[in-house]
Symmetry: C2
Subunit: 204 residues, 2 copies
DNA sequence: CCGCTCTTTGAATCCGCATTCAGAACGAAA
DNA sequence: TTTCGTTCTGAATGCGGATTCAAAGAGCGG
């Protein structure tokens, strides 16, 4: 079955290119050149075009991959944690870039800038936002049901505000705000979470 | 004194170009072409280069102008209002794009995407953020001094979170989130402001 | 109306990029 | 080793944008 093997190597190669495109966008922004992607991949532009005749499609895949990477990482960071308080705190922490060099978040910021003009990118980001809101809603509702949290607003409202704060502080950190680093941003968001849940949330 | 008149017209012409660049960026993003700027200005690329030999400098000025426009507009929206409650509510409202087509905010979003790679843009955005935070701090402190607000966190914390929420919902609106429009975003931010100020803030 | 300077044009030039493609290189099976 | 399909290269082509510049145009004082 050489046919199956070929098919597999083909998808592997395409995945390599998606990752190269992702890294190239980190360096050159959303308006990255085909040559720049090829250079990162260690290939010529022709080879890239052989696998992805349409560069736009490749960039879209790269953005999608970056989003999934970010989201999966968050899920993995809190998997197995059952205590709602710990889970909420850890989720907030995992939604912020680790530092101003964080690759995944930088890519999302690039995407955010382009989303104003590109409806496909806009749809991707909107979907990611809503998924993250749902993630928070589950945590909040479980905590409320257990009597740990006493929510001062609907879980949808709190979830939306929490994700919004994460996004905004992500941008601030990417822009290297001198006094807002990962710890400071965490504290700011936790201050809101405390008010909204009525729980003194240890900083951990 | 033809010398003085010349100088004035020269600066006027440069201001025209800055505005043309601003509008061109709205259409084509931060990576706008010289030709596109020239077209918006109703000139040829050579004429643009005559006034701004360096395109990067022109784009920087355009971004700076866009920021000032946005900030001045906010200040003007609340000037003359003395009641802290009304002032807070109006400030929150004025910080959000009016709709998903809002030019000033779209430009700021473009800028946000580029700030991850461009330190000058990053500095501009950071300065704008801090100015807006200060704006909120003044309102909050006055309201607290008058006994209208009972702040649940330091004014710096609340101000930072308020501006962060505005920024984030600005991005959401630019990405045309189906259920977050100007009214919904206002409500979400006001929900936080209520918790943080201990005041029932009428929606107005 | 003339002459001066500042401004703008339009053409020429150069450069970099995307795109195409013939053929080289590679790898697997026979 | 030969054959055959897949992958990749490197050169050719063509387009679009940046940049330069001589010359035309426009405004203004004399």
């Amino acid at each position: 079955m050489q046919v199956a093997r070929n098919k597999q190597r083909r998808t592997e190669r395409r995945a390599d290119l998606v990752d190269a495109a992702r890294r190239a966008m980190l360096e050159h922004g959303s308006a990255v050149r085909l040559n720049q992607v090829a250079e990162v991949a260690g290939l010529t532009s022709g080879a890239v075009l052989y696998h992805y005749p349409d560069l736009q499609e490749l960039l879209l895949e790269a953005h999608r991959a970056g989003m999934e990477r970010f989201y999966d990482q968050r899920l993995r960071a809190v998997e197995g944690v059952t205590d709602p308080v710990r889970k909420l705190v850890m989720t907030i922490t995992s939604g912020l870039p680790v530092d101003s060099e964080d690759e995944d978040v930088r890519l999302l910021c690039e995407l955010g800038g382009a989303a104003g003009r590109n409806t496909v990118y806009a749809a991707l980001l909107t979907a990611l936002y809503d998924r993250q809101v749902s993630m928070y809603q589950v945590i909040l509702e479980i905590g409320a049901a257990q009597g740990v949290f006493s929510l001062k607003d609907p879980s949808l409202t709190i979830g939306r505000n929490l994700v919004a704060l994460e996004d905004a502080y992500g941008y601030r950190m990417m822009a290297r705000h001198p006094s807002i680093d990962h710890a400071a941003a965490s504290r700011l968001i936790l201050d809101y979470a405390r008010l909204a849940t009525g729980h003194p949330l240890p900083a951990d």
